[in-house]
Amino acid sequence: MKLLDHLEEWLITFLMAAATTIIFASVVHRYLSGVSIPGLQDWLLSLNFGWAQELCIIMFVWMAKFGAAYGVRTGIHVGVDVLINRMTGRTRAKFVVFGLLAGALFTGIVGTLGAHFVWENGFHYALYTALGKDLVDIPEGPTTPDLEWPTWIVYSAIPLGSSLMCFRFLQVTVSFIRTGELPHHDHGHVDGIDETTIAEEVNAFQMEDNLHPHDLTYRKRHPEDSSGQGGKQS
């Protein structure tokens, strides 16, 4: 389980860094190859960066799918929680569980549909070829325009990412039912104007605002907020 967590984090960190580097390199390449430096220019012209955009898009789509799953674990997905955050703890908890299960349902459906799609799109062919079975009426899938990778590999981000996300939703649901806690970001203290201050404690989009549901321990951590008590308290 720990391994899966780390793998997820490494993957999206790597994709983010790699995509940035690739686009940077392709832009630098475009301009440097216009400068006439003997030797260097010829070498640069021999490189082809035409695939950079396509690879960048593929990397970011993969990052989006797996990052969305990671986002369930960190509780970053925003919703309209104005209404349910005004309810009392127990009623709200029911809605929170409903929302989480709805998330699991949607990602589960998409994962299944995606898997089906990938199967039809060439995975079937690839698998049977690899296994040496006979290929009666199974079409070979298409490939991407620039990199000429089989699309089923590229599109497998959908079933893989969605299934992981579905699993994460279920995981959060279980832990919420057990402990009454949702993943949240507690903003610690932020120091004053001092040379070492790094503005990192406040992470926008991960706060206990009305874009995220309050969990059952919210009252303890935010005693000043009297909403969600079904009225005023004396």
Partner: protein
């Protein structure tokens, strides 16, 4: 009929508090399943192809760049520079805050990020200098909103994704309204500081100003890289975003040395997390707008409005009211992605300029970020100052009112937004 079914499903699902992306996706699935013959498999494919556009990839790059700048000491040097320039006027640090926010907004594409970057350093400093807590919070919360109006802007990229408007033209169009709004907010700050006689700084000497400028020049240069690069056609907006991410990384790690390699990994992970969340909303919103177009809803709405003799003025008023209301429930990216595809065709039929319409939406989003119940800036400021949301709401009122007045001006004076891109020949 179909339209109302779609909207009722969406509304009910959203109000249960599930993530917006999930409620959009489930609406589409259930509608397709119950009322149409469209094969569900096409949904899975759309989930991939929905974001297969190079323009969208500007969003993760800008988020990454913004995070490097926030953590990398660029904000602190910009504050010093701003303070040395305007700190001696009425409003002192407050006015410097507005200027610093405007400068930071010109390198960052997000409002809450601007509040974090400037606010976490400046707000404590203002309290130390003798300003009331709520004055500082009011200034920074509202000025931080400049982040999405002054280019680059993530919300503008979202709008361009939803409506196929040129990102470059939108960016240029944001410059004049952005400077205008900064001046309005600065004016309010100046007026209130003079009225209550808040402390001023000592006037910085020319030497001090030069030093502050030299230190912050690395951050300021980024403005030239992004805007100049896009305008001159050297980069596409997405490439400019990638360049600014690499540049910001370089400055933070090698020039200012405020960020260690270990921090870099964390910044990358955080940025990936936030980008993935936004990209996930985009994919599902693309699905949703696909359904809308499939059912001809925007067209029907446009015909209905024109049939009732609704003119441009009434329409723009209605748009403002709808968006301000929506700002009570959702954050800007979702609002733009859901409402822009619906309202845009109507605006086109009424002859409203697409770029002007985009700027109008962005200014609306800014207002929504500064008031409860969901104003992101407000929550960020609350996290920094430890003030309650109610108290902060009172604190931002003077600035929020002037922002609303500015919204009216932007709405009905299109030339504010369209003049610069037209003059530069970008539209």
């Amino acid at each position: 009929m179909n339209a109302s079914i779609i909207f009722i499903i969406l509304l009910v699902l959203m109000l249960t508090g599930m993530p917006i992306s999930i409620s959009l996706g489930l609406t589409v699935l259930s509608f397709l399943f119950m009322f149409t013959q469209v094969p569900l498999e096409s949904v899975a494919l759309k989930l991939f192809t929905g974001i297969e556009k190079f323009e969208i990839m500007a969003i993760p790059f800008f988020i990454l760049a913004g995070n490097f700048l926030t953590h990398g000491g660029v904000a602190r040097r910009m504050i010093k520079f701003a303070t040395s320039m305007v700190g001696h006027w009425y409003g002192g640090l407050g006015l410097a805050g507005v200027l610093a926010c405007a400068l930071f907004a010109a390198v960052s594409g997000s409002s809450p990020a601007t509040v974090v970057a400037i606010g976490s350093i400046l707000m404590p400093a203002m309290v130390k200098a003798g300003f009331p807590n709520k004055f500082g919070a009011g200034v920074i919360t509202t000025s931080g909103a400049l982040g999405i109006l002054i280019p680059p802007s993530i919300v503008m990229v979202m709008y361009s994704v939803a409506t196929n408007t040129s990102v470059g033209a939108l960016f240029m169009a944001g410059v004049i309204p952005g400077i205008g709004l900064a001046m309005v907010l600065g004016g309010v700050t100046w007026y209130r500081a003079r009225k209550f006689d808040y402390p001023r700084m000592q006037k910085a000497t020319f030497g001090e100003r030069w030093k502050a400028f030299r230190e912050s020049v690395w951050g300021l240069l980024l403005i030239v890289v992004v805007m100049g690069g896009i305008y001159s056609g050297m980069f596409t907006p997405t490439e400019a975003a990638a360049m600014s991410a690499v540049y910001a990384f370089f400055v933070a790690v090698f020039v200012y040395k405020d960020l260690s390699m270990k921090d870099v990994a964390r910044v990358l992970l955080n940025s990936a997390n936030m980008s993935a969340m936004l990209l996930y909303i985009i994919t599902n919103a693309v699905l949703f707008s696909f359904i809308m177009t499939n059912e001809n809803i925007p067209q029907a709405l446009a015909d209905w409005m024109l049939g009732h003799g609704l003119g441009m003025i009434a329409f723009l008023l209605a748009v403002n009211i709808i968006l301000l209301l929506a700002g009570n429930f959702m954050e800007p990216s979702s609002i733009v992605l859901i409402f822009a595809p619906i309202l845009f065709p109507v605006a086109m039929k009424l002859g409203i300029d697409p770029v002007h319409f985009g700027i109008l939406m962005v200014v609306n989003m800014e207002v929504g970020m500064c008031h409860p119940p969901v104003g992101l800036n407000l929550y960020v400021a609350s996290g920094i100052t430890k003030m309650g949301i109610t108290e902060l709401t009172v604190a931002v009122w003077p600035w929020l009112l002037s922002m609303l007045a500015f919204l009216v001006v932007v709405t009905y004076v299109p030339i504010l937004s369209t003049w610069l891109p037209k003059t530069l020949g970008m539209m």
